[in-house]
């Protein structure tokens, strides 16, 4: 059967099919989240699912909790599609890799791709990605010195052959993990997700009586590309530059971006950016691209779904070896630490083109705080635990509204509930409250950070694996808005602040205090509506002392 024999495909029918594709990927995503073991998947929706045409062009992708998969999946499937010959593929085959430079920036993200067959022919692909709990090595933390320290890397290979998982590969994955059972569960969930996607895709093609995805694919991609280009056409053409200073690990960093806007697209270049760190906060370009494009698309055509067409006009590059285009074999485990600030970097460029549409900088990098019992606790028969509470600072003020306090952006994580954290681990969180005056002053105020205070509940020491940002360099304001308060980590009884990266040992009687950063303000503080300031004072979000930042308010 050829394309000409397909029933007439009216725009309404094509659109129904497009809607169905979008529904199928969301369903795939939900299936994966429900079955996942990794807390970061469950709490943050750190997964993705997509459908691709026979040429590997992405037609639909699930909108999940993290932007980190947006371009990465589209590129990874193209790569796998090139690597393996379509002629050799059989129904039930599934390919995979966790290569950070091909999949999603660090080893924990597994990417699977499965061909969909109809009448004996490959008609398209489904793909999904999920974050696995543990791949061995030094574990989730920035301490690795190269990728080999960070655990098991699986190059592109066939994970499932005609429905049968490769037993040797599964053995290797189990043997190289501290959490073999959870890993196995997560891999089966990924397999089930691919299979469900393929079944639904083929069932849909049967239902609508189409034998290939050519017409539908072109419709989806052309419509989306056209929409994206129209949105870009509303951005003034030009070249816009921005620099961010970041805490880094062993030394401070500069991130540089040049945004070039033409009628044909938006291109970002990271030339000028600092070189790589010795530790695992380096970012492969695919991951930096995902967050960069996400940020641009929040402002430029956010209503257009992600697919090969809508993504095509957005391109990102950077000199090899800069920290946003890290090359093998540097360590990359905590690539999200800087990945999550690339939106602030590129939005600083876009702001110059669209001063009235782009928010100020925010805390951006989440306070993801993996904690584990100290090694000797296990040896002495004490209570073992491993948790990963996530908390956030404030977002930047918007051009027409205050920033959001203690809210994730660009990530879509859920913050942890104290009662749950304390139920599963021997810790007490004594405080979790907004931090007054931490939001940058402005016509619109930045979102507030929060203060979290905690101790061990059983006097046993524990370890916190830190990789957070903006303790030295705060989120900056725009258009005269002031910076938010920087974050801070310290012991109540200690003299020195604790740096934001590395392992932190907390003794049984230590009282640990985290302040997450506030967001930057937008516009001149003296222009703030006096009623809004009065309300902030009444609510205790701004103190009398903090109100001085807004100038003379003694009216």
């Amino acid at each position: 059967m050829s394309a000409e024999l397909s029933p007439k495909l009216s725009p309404a029918r094509l659109q129904v099919m497009w809607n169905r594709l979008l529904a199928v990927v969301e369903e795939q995503g939900q299936t994966l989240i429900r079955a996942a073991f990794s807390p970061i998947v469950r709490e943050c929706g750190d997964i993705s699912a997509g459908i691709f045409d026979v040429n590997g062009r992405m037609l639909a992708q699930a909108v999940t909790g993290t932007p980190g998969h947006i371009n990465t999946m589209a590129e990874a499937v193209l790569h796998l599609r090139e690597r393996f010959s379509v002629q050799d593929m059989k129904p039930g085959d599934i390919y995979m890799t966790n290569d950070p430079w091909l999949a999603s920036g660090h080893l924990n993200d597994f990417l699977l791709m499965m061909p969909a067959f109809k009448d004996g022919k490959v008609v398209g692909f489904t793909s999904c990605t999920s974050h696995l709990v543990d791949l061995g090595g030094l574990g989730m933390g920035p301490e690795g010195s190269d990728i080999y320290d960070e655990g098991l890397l699986i190059p592109p290979c066939k994970l499932v052959e005609e429905g049968t998982p490769n037993a040797l590969l599964m053995d290797i994955i189990r043997a190289n993990s501290r959490e073999p059972i959870a890993n196995e569960g997560d891999i089966y969930a990924l397999i089930a997700c691919c299979e469900a996607g393929v079944n639904r895709l083929v069932a849909m093609m049967d239902e609508f009586g189409i034998d290939d995805l050519d017409t539908l694919g072109c419709y989806v991609i052309d419509t989306s590309r056209k929409g994206a280009l129209e949105a870009i056409a509303e951005v003034p053409e030009g070249v816009y530059k921005n620099v961010l200073r970041m805490d880094g690990y062993e030394n401070e960093l500069e991130l540089h971006a040049t945004l070039t806007v033409t009628k044909d697209g938006m291109h970002v270049d990271f030339t000028g950016t600092s070189g790589c760190s010795k530790k695992g906060i380096n970012v492969p370009l695919n991951y930096a691209t995902a967050y960069t494009v996400f940020a641009l698309r929040c402002i430029v055509g956010p209503d257009i779904p992600n697919n090969a067409g809508s993504l095509e006009p957005f391109t990102v590059d950077g000199p090899k070896g800069c920290i946003l285009n890290a090359q093998r074999p540097v360590p990359v485990a905590m690539r999200h630490t800087l990945g999550q600030v690339t939106p602030d970097l590129v939005l600083g460029c876009l702001h110059q083109a669209l001063p009235d549409q782009v928010p100020a900088e925010g805390a951006s990098c989440m306070f993801d705080l993996p904690m584990r019992h100290a090694p000797e606790v296990a040896a002495n028969g004490g209570r073992e635990f491993a948790i990963e509470p996530v908390h956030n600072g404030g977002t930047g003020a918007r051009p027409h509204a205050d920033g959001l306090s203690a809210t994730a952006y660009p990530s879509g994580v859920f913050g942890s509930q104290v009662e749950i954290t304390e139920s599963v681990a021997p810790v007490v969180m004594w405080r979790r409250e907004l931090l007054p005056d931490s939001g940058g002053a402005g016509k619109y105020r930045g979102g507030l950070g929060q203060r979290i205070e905690m101790t061990s509940s059983n006097n046993a020491p524990f370890i916190v694996f830190l990789s957070v940002e903006r303790l030295k360099f705060p989120a900056l304001g725009r258009m005269g808005g002031q910076p938010g308060a920087p974050g801070r980590i310290r012991f109540r009884d200690g003299n020195d602040d604790i740096p934001g990266k590395g392992e932190l040992r907390v003794e049984g009687d230590d009282y640990l205090i985290f302040d997450t950063p506030g967001g930057g303000g937008f516009g001149d503080p003296s222009e703030r509506d006096p009623k809004a300031l009065a309300l902030d004072l009444k609510r205790g979000l701004v103190t009398e002392a903090g109100a001085k930042a807004y100038g003379d308010t003694s009216s």
Partner: protein, 698 residues
């Protein structure tokens, strides 16, 4: 006994539905009156008087009275409740403001977080602290009460929500604080979280307690007025209230936990569908309730509607998850989307056809209603396709203007997409039906279930009209349209049990569970629930259902596992493990042997037994109904012009069969039988639609 006479009143946003039933099954009279928003009891009284007059009975004869109302829901949505203050543990003033630290829409940088009713200037704290195990870490500092009272007075609070950390594990501080405040401020309404929602997760528990406190003063006065008014007219049986969980409780319980009354109307619809499922022996059902602005879908397995322990009130535009206020109460779980007869169709910036969630409602309504509506709606598309026939619509009470519908479709959609009016209408229908089907599929996936093998039970004003189109899109091949599909919810009330549910958190690993502790917890919960049920059911027999919510250690999704109705012992661990793995296999295809199983929540439901279910007698020999009238329609399968049989439902006898395309009309709605379906009437008057074997659709 033949003297039973039962009355059900469902007060909705626009209409109040009243149904009078004798014995168990026979509907003596039903009516729709306009809801009287100033004093909703008036509209209810009018409905009651009408059904009494129609049936020649009197209110004094009524032996059972069940009431459901959207008043609680509307007060929350329209922000018409009390001024509430919160009191939390020192260090946790900002539980509401911090929430889950999440934006509900990934790409929307301009969004605002939901308004959770209590601003920071009315959130107060007191020094105290419990551990997760319920041990006192810091005693309740009663010296701070004086300050608290001053703060409460200054804030103008009319109601207080108290939510202390880990109070679900040990409520003594909350109770003590409530008693002290009540003593000093007897006029203050006080809700404590360990009463309202004793589950772990401070944000959800506080939200639930706040919502309860917010509507408590309003509901108390409403309920007492309602009772007085009906007592004055001679009603002398107790009035029971319908809850979101699909059970009934006394007015006293309702006044204590008014939050449990939200969404009781839709729950009634699900109960009706469950009842039909039981009578017809249908194990897997999808109920499909479509009105003017929303569609609600519910999964019903083995005649039990799926339930959930949480719900979101007042979601922002587009019904997005996370954009509302979460409450943790037992509810019949439904997916609700902004798609109904009044949903407005348009074309977006990319040239994509869109339908809803904006609705023209009843004012101005669809273009065809000629009340000032100018934007084409789903109803306008159904008129243009010939599915709504103007002369029989709403028994002729509403005049329709089909030309207006066509012109609006052509202008708004056709001109952008190069389609004629019929092509535009066909597009609108396909988009809205796909989105309803898609919501159903997504809901099934989230529940680890499949839609394919289900029977759809469709009701509501627009349910029967869209049922076969949505069923096809959802892969469902069998549909049942009950009798009186327009007043389904109120009919459903009459089949509910008196029941009460309590969910309580206590964290434990299954392998190392402290049996005495869990058994003691159950004893307390069961005693509490029995006491509440006894108020409404007297000494009638009750059933106790115990459940545990289990998950693999580290996983997010909890699975509900039934427990035996007796004390647990260590011997139960192995069978419970097996039961969990079996259920896990069903939902996720493979269990994960060796993984630890943990339990966070425990639940009991105490209920009077369900009413007996007489099975549906066999349908008489099929006979082809002789169609005497046809109407031109656009076939929803292939888009061509066809003649559809035009049949009054009242003319069908059990066994009568009609092939699609057909329109089967009745006073409040029309059933569209698509060309790939045929319909017959079963022995008790349900309309049953069955899709042809594959190949019907070309």
């Amino acid at each position: 006994m033949t003297t039973a006479l039962r009355l059900a009143i469902d007060i909705g946003g626009t209409f109040t539905d009243t149904v009078l039933v004798s014995g168990d099954e026979t509907i003596l009279a039903s009516t729709k009156t306009l809801t009287t928003h100033q004093n909703p009891a008036e509209g209810a009284m009018e409905g009651a008087e009408r059904v009494m007059a129609q049936s020649g009975r009197s209110l004094m004869e009524v032996t059972g009275f069940i009431h459901g109302t959207t008043l609680a829901t509307n007060a929350l949505i329209e922000r018409r409740g009390a001024v509430v203050a919160t009191i939390c543990t020192e260090g946790f003033r900002d539980i509401l403001d911090i929430g889950y630290e999440r934006r509900y829409s990934q790409y929307d940088i301009n969004l605002e977080k939901p308004d959770l009713l209590v601003p920071r200037e009315r959130s107060f704290v007191i020094r105290e602290r419990m551990s997760a195990e319920g041990e006192v870490l810091v005693a309740l500092d009663e010296t701070q009460v004086e300050r608290l009272l001053a703060e409460l007075d200054a804030s103008g609070a009319e109601a207080v929500a108290i939510c202390l950390i880990h109070s679900y594990a040990n409520p003594t501080h909350e109770k003590r604080l409530r008693d002290i405040l009540a003593e000093h401020r007897p006029d203050l309404t006080i809700s404590i979280s360990s009463d309202v929602s004793p589950e772990a997760r401070e944000f959800d528990r506080l939200c639930t307690t706040v919502a309860n406190a917010y509507i408590q003063p309003l509901m108390e006065s409403y309920l007492s007025r309602f009772i007085k008014q009906f007592a004055a007219q001679g009603v002398n049986c107790p009035i029971l209230m319908m809850t979101a969980g699909g059970g009934m409780c006394t007015v006293e319980t309702a006044a204590r936990f008014p939050i449990r009354l939200v969404e009781s109307g839709p729950a009634g619809g699900a109960i009706l569908a469950a009842r039909i499922a039981a009578r017809s022996g249908l194990d897997q059902v999808l109920s499909f309730d479509v009105g003017g602005t929303t569609a609600k879908l519910c999964l019903i397995d083995k005649a039990r509607p799926q339930t959930s322990r949480s719900f979101e009130i007042a979601r922002a535009a587009r019904f997005i998850k996370g954009s509302g206020m979460p409450v943790r109460i037992p509810v019949i779980e439904m997916i609700e989307i902004g798609a109904g007869g009044g949903s407005i169709a348009g074309v977006d910036r990319l040239g994509r056809l869109t339908v809803g969630p904006k609705s023209a409602g009843s004012e101005p309504g669809p273009v065809a209603f000629m009340r000032g509506g100018t934007e084409p709606t789903v109803t306008d598309s159904d008129i243009t396709l010939g599915y709504i026939v103007p002369d029989t619509f709403a028994e002729g009470h509403i005049k329709l203007d089909p030309k207006g519908s066509k012109a609006a479709l052509k202008r708004v959609i056709g001109e952008r997409l190069n389609l004629d009016a019929i092509g535009s209408a066909d597009g609108v229908s396909r988009i809205v039906d796909e989105s309803m089907a898609s919501a159903g599929r997504m809901h099934a996936v989230e529940s680890g279930k499949d839609l394919g093998p289900r029977t759809m039970i469709a009701f509501g004003g627009n349910g029967p009209l869209h049922a076969s189109r949505v069923a096809r899109s959802a892969g469902v091949s069998r549909i049942v349209i009950p009798r009186n599909p327009g007043v389904g919810s109120a009919v459903g009330f009459l089949f509910a049990s008196v029941s009460f549910e309590i969910v309580r958190s206590r964290y434990s690993l299954l392998d190392s569970m402290d049996m005495d502790d869990v058994n003691a917890l159950f004893d307390i919960m069961i005693a509490e629930a029995k006491e509440v049920v006894a108020q409404g059911a007297g000494d009638a027999p009750t059933e106790v259902l115990r459940t545990a919510f289990m998950r693999y250690n580290g996983q997010g999704h909890e699975i509900e596992i039934s427990l035996p109705d007796r004390a647990l012992s260590p011997e139960d661990i192995a069978p419970l493990t097996a039961a969990f793995e079996e259920e896990y296999r069903k939902q996720f295809s493979r269990p994960v042997p060796g993984m630890q199983i943990e339990i966070l929540n425990w639940a009991v439901r105490v209920a009077t037994p369900e009413r007996s279910v007489p099975p549906v007698p066999e349908t008489p020999e099929p006979s082809v109904f002789k169609v005497s009238e046809t109407r031109p329609v656009t076939c929803d399968v292939d888009g061509t012009a066809k003649d559809a049989a035009f049949v009054a439902r009242a003319d069908l006898k059990p066994g009568d069969r009609v092939r699609g395309p057909a329109l089967i009309h009745e006073p409040q709605t029309t059933t569209l039988v698509s060309a790939d379906f045929s319909a017959h009437l079963d022995a008790i008057g349900n309309l049953v639609l069955i899709q042809d074997q594959k190949g019907g659709a070309k």
